[in-house]
């Protein structure tokens, strides 16, 4: 149910933004948000001043962290970038946690944040992130997060179920005819979400070393693992599996129990590779 609303809300946001070019009278800086957005706002408006201050504190923090991610996207200092990415994800965790404590579902918090991102960075934000980093992969930039106090579990949501829910929601939508075209476009695209393979597949244009890495990855039940050999690095594995060497931090974070820092891999250590 909640995913449907998230889908609706995001479709509205994207549809509204897409039309800013086609219909110049739409002021992109003050998008009037109809329907489902009002619902999200109503819940937030029901918070008392104190809770609102708390939510906005963490919202602001996440926005600032996101700015740093964008700024450092073209940085060569991967340690610094890893820290920046980590801080961003942590700030999202805390935002979700703060929302939860006020009784807000994750989707409402997400909506509130998306609105703030849109207001602050504009709807072409993601495109700009991609350009700044020379094609930084948005999907791997935003990774699954948890709240700070959760116990460790081993399930990873690959996002497919969300895309399907979005498609469903878009079909139900009565947007009015001037907004139908973009919604239909998104609905048509969403069901094409790829089926997750059992083991990793080499990415198109993968290099020789990357293909070898992919070959070496073992599937153990629900997990992917690889045993470190001489010459391996987290960046290479990340590049082979996620198509982005800057996403090495994902592997690092999933293996903190065996890794002290992301630059030192000991031969023979078995690493867990989170599925992309």
């Amino acid at each position: 149910m909640h995913s449907k609303y998230l889908g609706l809300c995001l479709t509205w946001a994207i549809a509204g933004g897409a039309l800013a070019d086609a219909r110049p009278e739409l002021d992109q800086s003050a998008i009037t948000l109809p329907g489902p957005f009002m619902l999200a706002q109503a819940t937030i408006d029901s918070l008392d001043d104190s809770e609102l201050r708390r939510l906005n504190y963490y919202n602001r923090r996440a926005l600032d962290a996101l700015s740093l991610v964008v700024e450092s996207a073209s940085s060569r200092d991967i340690i610094e970038q890893s820290n920046v990415n980590t801080k961003f994800r942590s700030s999202i965790s805390r935002l979700v946690d703060a929302g939860r404590r006020s009784g807000l579902p994750v989707e409402t918090v997400a909506m509130h944040f998306v609105e703030a991102v849109t207001e602050e960075f504009g709807l072409d934000f993601m495109e700009r992130v991609g350009q700044v980093a020379g094609g930084l992969d948005v999907i791997t930039l935003f990774r699954n997060v948890s709240t700070p106090l959760d116990p460790r579990t081993s399930t990873i949501d690959d996002g497919t179920s969300f895309l399907n829910a979005l498609a469903e929601a878009s079909e139900d939508l009565d947007l009015g005819k001037h907004l139908e075209a973009p919604a239909a476009e998104n609905a048509a695209q969403a069901p094409e979400a790829p089926v997750v393979p059992v083991g990793p597949r080499p990415l198109p244009n993968a290099s020789g070393p990357e293909r070898i890495i992919v070959d070496r990855i073992e599937v153990e039940g629900d997990e992917w693992t690889i045993v470190v050999r001489s010459g391996d690095s987290l960046a290479l594995i990340a590049s082979a599996v996620y198509g982005d060497s800057l996403a090495y931090n994902i592997i690092y974070q999933a293996n903190r129990n065996v890794l002290n820092n992301p630059n030192t891999l000991n031969i023979g250590v078995k690493l867990r590779i989170p599925k992309p």
């Binding site: 999202i92 990774r143 579990t153 399930t155 990873i156 969300f162 969403a190």
Partner: protein
């Protein structure tokens, strides 16, 4: 035209995932990952830096500033005034400052305060509390702190707020001086606390500072 599918999936993945790639690793105590406080109309958080490789800023890593004036301070600044650590300071913020019954006081000069201070603190530079009769700031400050002057010029402090005072660290004499000055005009010792560790210890623990808004 942006790749909306990616955008949506990106935002969705951000919020919908359940697998913990991160957890707060550096807590304050075993029970306390971080502290949320609201003082007046302001919300803030106290927590530790989560980067295991973080080190204290260079300014606060110096070991040997000239003494005098930067001399080692005793554990007990004056009789009846207790010396506290970080956890007591945090509890003081939660129980006393939040309730409006006291203040956390940064005794350093404004330049230091504005460069970064402990969240929730206010700045009363130590020299403003000088017990020198020539000090024009003393009377108004003491009044603000709940003091009333009798005909003989003495001060009484019924219902005085509880104060925790700090400065740069255990080599800093500013807050001890401020505390002794307050005692000399009759401030009740049991309402004064000395955070000896000061800014240096606060930072060594990776606790966050705030840049006060002017």
């Amino acid at each position: 035209m942006p790749d909306f599918k990616s955008y949506l999936a990106g935002i969705a993945a951000l919020f919908m995932g359940t697998a913990p790639v991160l957890a707060q690793e550096v807590w304050i105590t075993q029970e306390l990952p971080f502290v949320e406080l609201e003082v007046g109309q302001e919300f803030f958080v106290i927590e530790r830096d989560q980067d295991n490789l973080a080190v204290v800023p260079a300014d606060f890593a110096k070991t040997s500033r000239p003494c005098p004036p930067f001399c080692v301070q005793p554990m007990t600044v004056a009789e009846g005034v207790n010396t506290v650590g970080e956890l007591e300071l945090i509890a003081f913020l939660e129980d006393v400052v939040q309730a409006g019954d006291g203040y956390l006081i940064d005794s350093r000069t404004p330049r230091w305060y504005e460069a970064g201070t402990i969240p929730g603190s206010i700045n009363i530079p130590f020299n403003l509390l000088s017990a020198d009769a020539q000090n024009p700031f003393l009377a108004p400050l003491l009044k603000q702190l709940g003091g009333a002057q009798t005909d003989s010029g003495d001060w009484t402090f019924d219902n005085a707020p509880e104060l925790t005072m700090f400065c740069n660290g255990s080599w800093c004499g500013q807050s001890p001086r401020a505390i002794r000055n307050l005692l000399s005009v009759g401030y009740p010792a049991e309402k004064l606390h000395y955070y000896r560790g000061g800014m240096q210890n606060w930072l060594i623990l990776g606790l966050n500072v705030v840049i006060p808004e002017s």
